[in-house]
């Protein structure tokens, strides 16, 4: 009886030890994964910061202004060009002043069509 009990205990100790060991092994693995994930989060954050700084630098208004002055023909908006929402109906022309398709000059439209 005692022998049986002892045998049972020994076996259960072995099982428990094995279970404990495998659990610990798993835990270590998970810990490594966490550390890796944390590191990559930090790395990604750093990258985001770098990209944010780059974005701010590329879109800074003095650079955009210079590019716009070189590439686009834009003028400063005057107060008369701003129309309140209530008056917008009266300001819309009956026929569009420019028919780009008719003049075969709708370059952006063509680009969009070629993409489709």
């Amino acid at each position: 009886m005692v022998k049986l009990a002892n045998a049972f205990l020994v076996v259960s100790v072995l099982i428990a030890a094995f279970f404990l060991y495998s659990l610990e092994h798993k835990t270590r693995g998970l810990e490594r994964d966490i550390a890796k994930a944390e590191k990559s989060i930090i790395d990604e954050r750093e990258k985001i910061k770098l990209l944010g700084a780059e974005w701010a630098s590329l879109t800074r208004p003095d650079r955009i202004q210079k590019l716009a002055e070189e590439q686009l023909k834009l003028q400063t908006l005057t107060a008369q060009q701003i129309v309140p929402l209530a008056e917008i109906g009266a300001k819309v022309p009956q026929t569009p002043p420019l028919k780009l398709e008719a003049q075969n000059a709708d370059e952006i439209g063509k680009m969009l069509e070629s993409l489709q």
Binding site: E46, K49, L50, A56, S57, R60, P61, D62, A79, Q80
Partner: protein, 562 residues
């Protein structure tokens, strides 16, 4: 061999085993209970002071504008160091390092690496990623990298005076960066988020689009009028937020060696200037507030005003002028008479009340104290009435005038974003609302028919006052060196934004007909700025019948010429 004996022994042994068993069970039970308590019941780990020491340092907060555009941020860079004790072959190391980093000097590098007994020496701070990889691949023993934080300013020169800069150890040296380090320590701490070891950005009141418009127009004016320097500010009159502040010449905060000259400092806060006639607005508000003058008052301005040995003159002589005319013609005599009617003590008291006698303190630490007349006499009061003999920070002048027209409420100016509620909590009434209403009328009248005529951006109801102050050189006023300025606000029926434009020593240009007065240089600059920023700031244009007539006339002339 006797059985009973052995039986007795076995019994004894069994008892011992039982005792041992009980002891072990008790022991393990204690461990189990403790384990259960620790793992199941106490989920929150107890605060461990030892661990707290090893927590990463809270990073320096980013600085963003009011629309979250990054103005200053930290990026990670590597710095190259060496441990001279570990270097085996100094000649080889020097050769390899100088071959890969061209700007390292071979001679000083050799000196650094041959220092006996030193364990650490910086070779180069903030090495680029390409160079870092190249040196990693060389595998020189005793040479390594440390990850460091580098502060970068993606916008470059734009708003550099407000943001300021840091030294190589990321300690704030100027501007808001310095504020984050010293007086603003509490503010910085409030940005920390201890859970994620991150820091919320410090948000400025600045709008970089407005900043760019102001900087660009002031820069153009400085070139056009060959001015020594120039400046511009846009401020929200309700909240005191500074949306743009440009002082030219400026500097690049990303440059390693800045060598700032006194020209490059922030003149709008760290310099004091006699703003001249702009200050007349304060005198008018004072006379109106004390009730010693009103819009129906008339002043005889035909003869120069004699005080002791001194005489006060006007640029253009008029025999008699109404209060409005004194303002729009910018009459020194009329304004001086107004101040004298208020009295010396009351004048001083009023200047103190509006805050012109104290140093204006904002988040930007570079601030100068006002220069006041040494003896407060009748003459000092009369000249101070039109801005002579006392000098203030331009920002302070703008802030005080904004308070005169926003309903008479003093709001301290700020570089940080502030809500209307926060501003209201800080504000207090300094002049009567009726005084403020009259001031708004005078400011608008001055742009409609006075010295500020060129500032009238049709639709945005601009009001303002010009100032052309002769500069003091060697204790004397010099006629050909002037500081021209314009302080105004828009839309004048319910002011939302105040504007200041200042040009130091502008020269006459062909289109100014030889004039260097503010009406010909600072005012058109302000007009250009307003035309650009008013749509961005959401100021709705409105047109009076007069405006429409003016527009029709303009269109007609344009058609004729076209």
């Amino acid at each position: 061999m006797s059985l009973p004996h052995s039986n007795l022994q076995g019994l004894k042994g069994q008892n011992r085993i039982r005792l041992l068993g009980i002891a072990f069970s008790a022991f393990f039970a204690a461990i189990t209970i403790q384990l259960g308590q620790l793992t199941l019941l106490h989920h929150a780990a107890p605060a461990n002071p030892e661990l707290a020491d090893h927590e990463p340092r809270q990073p320096r907060p980013d600085i963003v504008d009011r629309n979250n555009v990054i103005m200053a941020t930290d990026i990670s860079v590597s710095s190259l160091y060496a441990d001279p004790r570990k270097i085996i072959d100094v000649d080889e190391a020097v050769e390899l390092l100088t071959a890969n980093i061209p700007d390292l000097d071979a001679k000083s590098l050799r000196e650094k690496l041959t220092q006996p007994g030193r364990a650490f020496v910086w070779l180069k701070r903030q090495v680029g990623p390409d160079e870092r990889d190249a040196i990693y691949n060389l595998g020189i023993p005793g040479v390594g990298f440390v990850e460091e934080r580098k502060r970068v300013y993606p916008l470059g020169r734009l708003a550099a005076h407000t943001v300021g800069y840091v030294d190589v150890d990321t300690k704030g040296i100027a501007g808001v960066e310095k504020f984050l380090d010293d007086q603003g320590a509490l503010y910085t701490a409030s940005l920390n988020e201890p859970e994620t070891h991150s820091t919320a950005p410090a948000q400025l009141a600045m709008d970089i689009r407005v900043q760019q418009a102001v900087t660009d127009e002031v820069a153009k004016a400085v070139v056009k009028f060959k001015a020594k320097s120039g400046g511009g500010i846009i401020m929200n009159v309700e909240t005191g937020e500074i949306l743009a502040l440009a002082s030219l010449p400026d500097f690049n905060p990303n440059a390693e060696d800045k060598h700032l000259t006194s020209d490059q400092q922030n003149k709008l806060t760290s310099g004091v200037y006699e703003l001249g006639s702009v200050i007349k607005a304060v005198t008018f508000a004072m006379a109106l507030d004390y009730g010693t003058a009103n819009l129906n008052s008339h002043f005889s301005t035909g003869a120069p005003l004699q005080i002791g040995k001194f005489r006060i003159h006007d640029l253009h002589t008029h025999a008699e002028q109404s209060m409005e005319e004194v303002f729009t013609n910018s009459s020194n005599i009329g304004t001086a008479k107004m101040a004298l009617a208020v009295g010396l003590d009351n004048h001083m008291e009023f200047l103190r009340r509006v805050g012109l006698l104290d140093r204006l303190v904002t988040e930007v630490p570079e601030s100068a104290k006002p220069l006041l007349p040494r003896h407060w006499s009748k003459l000092a009061s009369a000249t101070a009435a039109f801005g002579h003999g006392f000098a203030v920070q331009p920002l302070q002048g703008l802030s005080v005038i904004a308070d005169m027209i926003n309903g008479g409420i003093a709001v301290p100016p700020t570089f940080l974003k502030r809500s209307k509620e926060e501003a209201q909590a800080l504000a207090h009434q300094i002049v009567k609302p009726e005084t403020s209403a009259t001031m708004r009328y005078l400011f608008r009248a001055n742009v409609q028919k006075g010295t500020g005529e060129f500032a009238d951006v049709i639709g945005y109801r601009v009001g303002g006052k010009t100032g052309t102050a002769e500069k003091v050189v060697h204790g004397r006023y010099v006629k050909d060196k002037v500081l021209s300025s314009f302080i105004g606000a828009f839309p004048m029926d319910h002011p939302r934004y105040a504007i200041l434009v200042m040009l130091d020593e502008p020269q006459a240009a062909p289109e100014t007909h030889g004039f260097t007065t503010a009406g010909w240089n600072a005012v058109p600059t302000a007009s250009n700025i307003i035309a650009r920023v008013a749509p961005m700031l959401g100021v709705e244009p409105q047109f009076s019948a007069e405006d429409l007539a003016k527009l029709a006339k303009q269109a007609k002339t344009a058609k004729k010429e076209g």
